[in-house]
């Protein structure tokens, strides 16, 4: 389980990509991302160019088969853009995504279609994610039709199977219904079913439970974990709720201002957050405890930076209490590995 430690210099990039590609097919690495940058152009009055929103600005990681990683960060950190680029909805400005040995940048139309059938997407808003004018059966049938499953009978069987897997039984009760007739939890199950119906290897879940009630959240999270274990799926679970991460992922990545500032095994990171930002996030997460009412939380001052003109050096430095003047505000920190398998892009670990 090796990961490139320094992949910022142009010259090294092709070698790293090649290495990644080899390791992807030989190893059990499902997806490799190297130096991914996703920038959105800012227009000025329709024609002028006013800069770029650097939503994802140099992200590297490997995802193994059957592994669940959680990407944690606040709004505006770029996790949604990262996710959508992985899903093929955005084109990266730079960088490579290698999935099962194939480079996404070099995929043609057919390649992209194959790629899309290997992924499933679970969205945040269960009601919005389902077309309100389609029945559940039709909703689940759409990916199959697009994926080329012509036989109606085969589609019906696969839909039934998937419905049973998300524990909506008997399926016939639900298939003719429309989304507004289902509860939030049931809707989310349909969304999951739709993600699973093409039997993918990799599921991307964007805050899948944040719009559900507390009691239903746990149910859905357990369902997802069950699916992961049964099918050996890889998961990318994007969230800002750290307390759910414990029940669901092997590794956690913390994202801030377009970069991954910390990566590590879930237990390691929760026990010992290395990056000051991760530390702040953990400190800000509450458990239900009456003593909380009497204490104030330590919150880093300020707001997340603009992604158009990020701060020089470490992007967190304007808010960091442990800033090293002259270093953090001038040079961007590379990734260090203070513990085995636990990485942090922070000068403290130089």
């Amino acid at each position: 389980m090796s990961e490139g430690s320094q992949v910022t210099v142009e010259a090294q990039e092709p070698i790293e990509t090649e290495k990644a590609r080899q390791s992807a097919s030989s190893n059990n690495i499902l997806m490799s991302i190297r130096d991914l940058r996703v920038w959105f152009e800012l227009r000025r009055f329709g024609f002028g160019h006013a800069g770029f929103v650097r939503a994802v600005d140099g992200v590297n990681f490997d995802l193994h088969r059957g592994e669940a990683i959680a990407i944690v960060g606040e709004s505006g950190c770029g996790k949604s853009s990262l996710m959508k680029t992985i899903l093929g909805l955005y084109r990266p400005r730079e960088g490579t995504i290698i999935f099962d040995g194939k480079d996404l940048n070099e995929m043609g139309r057919d390649g992209l279609r194959w790629y899309r059938s290997r992924l499933g997407y679970v969205q945040q808003d269960p009601y919005g994610a389902l077309p309100p004018f389609m029945s559940i059966e039709r909703i689940l049938g759409e990916p199959l039709i697009i994926g080329g499953v012509r036989s109606k009978e085969e589609r019906r069987q696969r839909i039934r199977k998937t419905m049973l897997e998300v524990k909506m039984s008997p399926p016939e009760d639900f298939l003719p219904k429309f989304p507004h007739m289902l509860s939030g939890g049931q809707q989310q199950r349909v969304v999951i079913a739709r993600a699973m119906v093409l039997e993918p290897e990799f599921i991307v879940a964007d805050e899948p439970v944040s719009m559900l009630d507390a009691s239903v959240r746990v149910e859905i999270l357990k369902l997802l974990r069950g699916l992961q274990e049964t099918h050996g799926l890889s998961f990318m679970y994007i969230t800002h709720d750290l307390s759910t991460v414990r029940y669901f992922s092997e590794r956690i990545f913390v994202m801030y201002a377009g970069k991954l500032v910390e990566k590590g095994k879930m237990t390691d990171l929760l026990r010992n957050p290395l990056h000051p930002y991760s530390h702040a996030l953990l400190a800000a997460t509450s458990d239900p405890d009456a003593r909380n009412a009497a204490t104030f939380k330590e919150v880093p001052p300020g707001e997340p930076p603009s992604l158009v003109k990020p701060p020089a050096g470490c992007r967190f430095h304007p808010r960091c209490v442990r800033i090293i003047q002259g270093l953090c505000n001038e040079k961007e920190p590379p990734e260090f590995e203070p513990e085995a398998g636990h990485f942090s892009a922070c000068w403290l670990y130089q």
Binding site: L89, S117, Y121, Q123, P131
Partner: protein
């Protein structure tokens, strides 16, 4: 299907929708009846009129039901013919082979006004010698008035009102008045009610010659809808105008709305220069004056209704509706389910037709229904301006004829009011239906 039934039931809760649907149903029945009972070609033929088509109708006669509102009833036309036996015809032959034919026409005249005109239509068969007829008029009081003695051609028409000698004999009172009054010198004469008789004594000089005569008293009211200046029964035009108006309205509304929807969706989905192009075309088109362009097309190119329909749809596609649809589509485009569709690989056109446009239907249907009257009025306006299809009998054409013949100045109100009323009712019905549909599809309007 069930959604449709539900919508329908929801709709019936609104009285305006019920009224609207009832009226539209009535109009549809009228259309079907019109198309079935008077086929298209027949309608055109009738409307063109000409010889022998409408001669039995009075000119500019009001509808018969207006008599319900009059104390003094206006006369209906009275038609008596020796051909169909409503008049008696006696043929006597004398020794020399000369035939004498006596026609008797008997009728009741209970009306309070005078007929428009009295006409005798003679048709005769002969080889050389023309028959000769003597016409006598007998009033209810038994007075016998000598009308005329004329020789008959193969087809002769004798207008009582054009006989100057008869008029002189009646002390210069017009014959259609004078034959019906007792006191010829009265200032405001009113007709003598009772049974009248017209006798014709005709001499025929050949053995196999024959003579027939039809007596026609033109009334002042006729039919359900009245007649126009060409004696045409307005009912034909009103009836046939219904399917024309409805189909023009419907086709134009459907054509423009659906095409607009597709164009707006494509523009929004593909974005970029396509969207910009569509927007600019729309903006230019919105500035162009719609009716004047149609008028020009009608005046310079062709007045065929199909051409007008085509130009209407073409100009209507890039209208203000594109902007309204576009703003809705822009919102719908951002929906999570559209994003999910892209993620599982739906192609562009699949997304446009299966995911975007169905969301627009609640907006579309009320707008469509409410746009129909606009197109109906458009077609009528063009016809009123004289630019309608000249061969088709439509409501607008009736108004155009009425205006050309000074209907309102001369008091022939029914001529204008009947088509106007139909236009009004049709427009109202669709407007009612459209507004109710709007309330059904957009629950937020329900409080109103």
């Amino acid at each position: 299907m069930k959604a449709l039934q539900r919508t329908f039931r929801e709709l019936l809760r609104y009285p305006s929708a019920v009224i609207g649907l009832a009226i539209i149903a009535g109009l549809l029945i009228m259309s079907i009846y019109a198309m079935v009972s008077i086929p298209y070609q027949e309608a055109l033929r009738l409307w063109r009129g000409g010889e022998g088509v409408w001669y039995k109708n009075p000119k500019l006669a009001a509808p018969e039901w207006t008599n319900l509102f009059r104390k003094d009833k206006l006369p209906k036309s009275i038609y008596l013919s020796s051909l169909d036996g409503s008049a008696s015809k006696e043929v006597t032959t004398d020794a020399k082979g000369n035939k004498k034919i006596a026609f008797t026409y008997t009728f009741d005249y209970p009306y309070a006004a005078f007929p428009q005109e009295l006409v005798l239509f003679f048709t005769s068969k002969f080889s050389a010698k023309k028959p000769y007829a003597a016409i006598t008029w007998i009033t209810p009081e038994g007075k016998s008035i000598r009308v005329a003695e004329i020789s008959i051609d193969q087809s002769t028409v004798y207008y009582f009102s054009q006989d100057a000698k008869l008029q002189r004999r009646l002390l210069d009172v017009a014959p259609q008045v004078g034959l019906f009054v007792n006191d010829l010198k009265a200032k405001n004469p009113s007709p003598l009610k009772g049974t009248y008789q017209l006798k014709i004594s005709a001499n025929i000089f050949e053995a196999d010659a024959d003579l027939d005569a039809e007596l026609l008293l033109y009334g002042q009211v006729h039919g359900l809808a009245g007649t126009d200046h060409l004696r045409r029964n307005l009912g034909i035009a009103l009836l046939w105008g219904t399917p024309v108006a409805l189909s023009f309205g419907l086709i134009a509304a459907l054509g423009t709305t659906i095409t607009t929807m597709v164009i707006a969706a494509c523009g929004v989905w593909f974005g970029g220069w396509i969207d910009q192009l569509i927007q600019r075309i729309t903006e230019v088109n919105m500035v162009l004056p719609f009716l004047p362009i149609l008028i020009m097309v009608g005046a310079f190119y062709s007045r065929s209704i199909w051409v007008i329909l085509a130009v209407t749809v073409a100009l209507g596609i890039f209208g203000a509706q594109i902007k309204a649809f576009r703003s809705t589509f822009l919102q719908i485009k951002e929906s999570p389910y559209v994003e999910a569709a892209r993620a599982y690989g739906a192609g562009n056109f699949r997304i446009i037709f299966s995911y975007l446009t169905p969301r627009l239907i609640p907006l579309l249907i009320p707008g469509l229904v409410a746009a129909i009257p606009g197109f109906v009025f458009l077609e009528a306006s063009l016809a009123v301006l004289g630019l309608g299809d000249p061969t088709l009998p439509t409501w607008g054409k009736i108004i155009n004829d009425a205006q050309a013949n000074g209907a309102l100045y001369q008091g022939y109100y029914y001529w204008v009011l009947e088509p106007a009323a139909l236009l009004l009712i049709a427009g109202l019905a669709f407007a009612f239906l459209g507004f109710s549909l709007d309330r059904v599809f957009n629950p937020r309007l329900r409080g109103m």
